[in-house]
Symmetry: D3
Subunit: 291 residues, 6 copies
């Protein structure tokens, strides 16, 4: 870092000014998952970014999954993971583990890490205040839920008090039974219900690439119509489809902008939100305002 002069440092802070101004007082939802979650050093960087955004007046909500952690505990207690169309078959026994790991381990560990960096985090899941209400998605899948309604008042209340809500994506039916739900979908719906200014989806891809083997073919901006076109053309295909779909869902739920960024890039959130460069692909409804 010695090569950066004080003048450059000041200039970088100054350059962040219009972005800070744009997001100040607004809600930003960060969907956090994948490898950035497993690598301890990256995890610290992500939490640091969130604390910084919170400090400069942005209302950050962190929504996380935790597949690898769940698998680890299930393995340990000897429950075999079964999947149908990529969705985990979740019997009562499994659901109990899923809840423990997501709401008790992953969630509170993130809260604790944010706390140790000076942020004031609060760890919630869809069971708190019955925030995420679901119904059974299909009998085959067991306790896998499809969101029927969201009540984000408990998030809003804690945002208003200055806390950083960290949300484990577990749902509940009216009897209080817990359900496993898709974290991407949940993040998109929460961001929509909160009228978030933007959502940042941290994945393991650089964004939408015209040629998936060529990083330089990154598409930096997409309207919903253009995304649709790219799906038809087969550019958005395979494993990229659910990642893009989650972004489209969020835009359709009312979020103004959604960014796919690569969680393996340290401080990807800060770079995307507070510098002129940006990193990944931005989704908007229609072209109306700059990045």
């Amino acid at each position: 870092m010695q090569s950066v002069t004080n003048a450059q440092k000041a200039q970088i802070l100054m350059n962040a000014l219009p972005y800070i101004k744009k997001y100040s007082g607004k809600i930003v939802v960060v969907k956090y998952g994948g490898n950035a979650m497993v690598n301890e050093s990256l995890k610290r960087a992500v939490m640091g970014d969130i604390v910084l955004l919170n400090l400069i007046g942005i209302k950050v909500v962190l929504v996380h999954g935790g597949g690898p952690h769940i698998k680890e505990v299930l393995d340990r207690v000897g429950i075999e993971s079964k999947f149908i169309d990529g969705l985990r078959v979740t019997d009562a026994e499994t659901m109990k583990i899923v809840q423990m790991v997501l709401a008790g381990q992953v969630n509170k560990d993130l809260v604790s890490l944010i706390g140790s960096m000076g942020g004031n985090a609060i760890g919630l899941c869809g069971l708190d205040d019955r925030m995420i209400r679901v119904r059974k998605q299909s009998d085959d899948l067991g306790f896998v839920g499809k969101i029927t309604s969201l009540d984000v008042e408990i998030i809003q209340d804690n945002l208003d008090k200055g806390y950083i809500p960290v949300i484990a994506t577990i749902g509940t039916d009216k009897n209080g039974q817990a359900y496993n739900i898709n974290a991407d979908t949940a993040a998109a719906e929460i961001a929509g219900a909160l009228n978030a200014e933007c959502m940042v989806s941290m994945t393991n891809i650089d964004g939408v690439l015209r040629d998936k083997d060529d990083p330089s073919s990154l598409i930096t901006d997409l309207t919903l119509a253009q995304a649709d076109e790219l799906k038809k053309e087969g550019v958005i295909a395979g494993g990229m489809i659910p990642k893009v779909q989650c972004c489209i869902d969020a835009i359709q739920a009312g979020v103004k902008k959604v960014f796919i960024v690569n969680g393996m890039v340290p401080h990807a959130i800060l770079i995307e939100l507070l510098t002129e460069e940006g990193l990944g692909t931005m989704f908007v409804n229609k072209y109306s305002e700059g990045r």
Copy 2:
């Protein structure tokens, strides 16, 4: 219930009036543990009591432990429980399980049960907003913490918004490392920090008995001085000592009244707080006001 007339029902509601008046707008901390936690029907009754108290304007905070649940999971993953002087030796591996079970399973299950009965609960632990700060109690015990400071602002904020905070007793050091802490002690300190009007400690005893084999020898009221005397006399002895000590701690931390009630009596909280009878033993600093 058919034998109770409408007139009697109305009279019972009327009789609750002075007690509702006394506790309305005040904070009541319920320490919940033991068998009342394992029996599903009793658990429903306790949560129902809490929802009712909340509805009639009392600010209820539920502090819980979860020893049997922890043991169950530890057994399942093949970690052997070791104890020194009744305290669980907690290595990093064990602590991870303790956190998952307390903050992810027991805590959120209680939140969910309250929710299904119409209450608005929020599940927190000492990691949230770094509420419970601890230091290592002794090197032998591993991650067993002794509370060094409490910041109950996150509880107060959520009480003010009308939520029922449900607290899992896990602590954190300044690095964000989680610690196992004694639930009784934590409840007493939280109640003190909140200036609670009273604490109800749900145990498996009827209260302080002059003759431990004679339920009719229940002592209904004790000042701190009298409790001290009874310890010297050997009336308070054995397993009763830590239960009584927790009550004394709470009084000394500034709680006005502390009740030991038997969690096996359905609706023990309601009977203790809202009827003229009362059930167990009440601790006060000095005699000054009626039950």
Copy 3:
């Protein structure tokens, strides 16, 4: 009461929970008159009910008449009561007595009784803040007023501050002249203007009976359409008509539910509002929700 066990007491309190939840924070107008007003023991029971409702977070407004008390003072000062179609002919002299008795005696006595039971009541009449504006109903009747407009802000302000408003039904014209007004009509209009959740009309009948001599023929629920039908059939007839009309007026003014209960039943309000039984006849606009 010795035959009611602690468990039963707790159960009764628990059973009240959904009703408390339903009415909490809502406005309930109680129209109070007739014999329940003269019998001291019943009066205490009614005021006790009101204090309890207030304590558990229900905003209660008590609207009262006071015919027998007026008659007593008029007799005493030697003014003869004349009636045209059941309405008291009210000359200036009489009006002065009516105002004194309603606003100075009956009203403040109720306030005082509520106060002695721990409630915070405030005694108002339609002259306060010119709350109830009237015009002369007919020249023959003298100072008998018909409500032209209502400004319930003074009631709302005092409800917001936690007081129990007790309202004597006297109106004023723009010159400040006081008028005698029908208490039933005033209660219905006040309840409407306050968007009350419900009105309880305490009368000397059990409700609407299909056969007026058979208490078991009580009709427990009536929509406006059904009430209309019963009037045509002659089931609602005679002295019951004005009592029913007041309920219909309140529903039409926007009150969600109106109950006729028999004021001679001790704690009729509590039984009607907080138990599953109910007592009298409930009027609703259309069938939409349970009691």
Copy 4:
């Protein structure tokens, strides 16, 4: 009025400016009684003054008695008035009349008059919210009360909402029994409890006169010490003593200034408070600030 030019009118309004500034947002208690209460034209002038003060941002509280009105009704129902040392012997029967007349007639008539002049008045008595608590003064006098405590929160709440509280001086014991109390004393204590900026006592004298037969001997300012001296000298004597005592009581209860003015002078309050002249005698604790 034709002789007053526009320029003079503007000048008079301007001259009121420092006085408006002095009292703006402050509490002024007006003690109202005697002949100014019986003469309809004077009564209108007094209520007009109060409405004006309220409009220009002064918080006015009107405390009134009503001896002549009570006497009139007692005569009419044939109850003979008895007095011991100038205090009315008040049996239960009499008290009932006193309450009716003060709280129902005089109080609400004043409220109504203020209302007809555009003010927002609320009529209260010591029974409302148990504002004025008393004990029996002596057994001989029956229900004549001596104030033991005051809770002026209900006055403060309604002042805050912009209403003009009009207070009938009736007290209550803990059982809710009403008591007759001295209006002068009550006004002084209410003014003290409200930390009033000043109290204006409307009487039938011009103020303290050095020679009671010479109006030009008016003493315009008195400290408590000077008043004491004048009592010793016999200048303050006879019927003037209780009038002066009430002023002294108010000063000792914390009111900054107390004015005795002659209620027979139209608009005496406005002249005293808003013009440089002043009218009667001003009492202060010590000399510290100008009129």
Copy 5:
């Protein structure tokens, strides 16, 4: 003043009551210019009026120009004034002087004078919070601006805090360049944006005269339609046109009433707003309410 009795003084204060009531809590914009601004004694009278209005609860905003003061300084530094169609040609040099004089001298002198009379004034111009946004009116005129948008939040915020905003009419473009703007137009637009209850335009004429040489031919009320008619008839002509136009603009911008008064009459504002007489010509949209 000796000829005005106390009774007359009180009566004048009382007569002001309905007017105080009408304007209390409302916004009154005073457009201040011309000779009343140069004459020190008149200036004190105007500021005194404003302080009084503020004290009695009216929210006053003072908008001023300052032509003569600008001319004086321009002369002194040797800049020649040029005008096109009555508008000052404003080059960069001139604009610098205009800003200094209006925002630094005239504005702050008025603020200071109000302060010395006990009012709490705050001096603002269109540059503060970029309140008045303009574009160049024509290239010939240099920095003469035409208002494109107004953001009166800074005025509202300071009114809410009890200050008297004093506004110098300077505008800004998006680069922060200052512009000279017409004070009459600015006052009208500010009054409209604030939803002012009324605007008082202090000029050097008595109002609209049917015969400009006959003061007794004053027209006291005009609707917009009538004013239009008078323009066609040639009654409103010459120098009177822009003065009338400003009033019409204000009415069309939503101000309820606009008064033209002669600033040479001492306390013209008080006489116009707080006495039954009135002075000049009142403009309204349509006839709907009295003066």
Copy 6:
């Protein structure tokens, strides 16, 4: 800037985090004068820094002088500047120019510049709300004032509403006469009255140098005791004395930290407040916390 990588940018933003946290919600007073004020590019940089600090939640107050601008206008109108002990002799004529230039030109130009960069500034001087009250310092100096009292409520009110107050240092006596006051002293007293977290004094020196000709001899931290010592040693001498004295005054008035920075360094404020380096000399009362 191309040599700074995204990772470095993010790191610089992250490094600012603890400093943002330290100052967030706190008041920072910037004393702005000297050459940094004349150089347009530096002026933009300073205003940009202030807008950034405001955006990230720091409450910034800008206090400015304007000696060179005053001199320019005085020269232009042919008023000769006279000084006694470095203080400008200020006759009435001169004072008028000083006020115009400071409050009308320099102040509003800064406001306008902040506005054009996206900040919400409000330009005030000591005449507004009579914020800075002074008495004549000495007869020889004319209208040069010494501060007798400060009422910073108007600054606080506008900070609370989110504005950036820009303060021209002019004072007023009780008659509303304007006075010229020392900007350094005024800034120190304003910072003290606001309980500012820190004051940044922008000067034309690098800080306190042990050897005034050797920039590397900069002393980075000084307690008041150490500063005292350096004065005795003659290290702080000559023109440095008043600059240091202003810092000492501010510390003594209760400001926690005061920084002298060189206004010629672009973004000196950001570098001093938001980076680990710092630039100039920091004054504290005693050593207690880090930079």
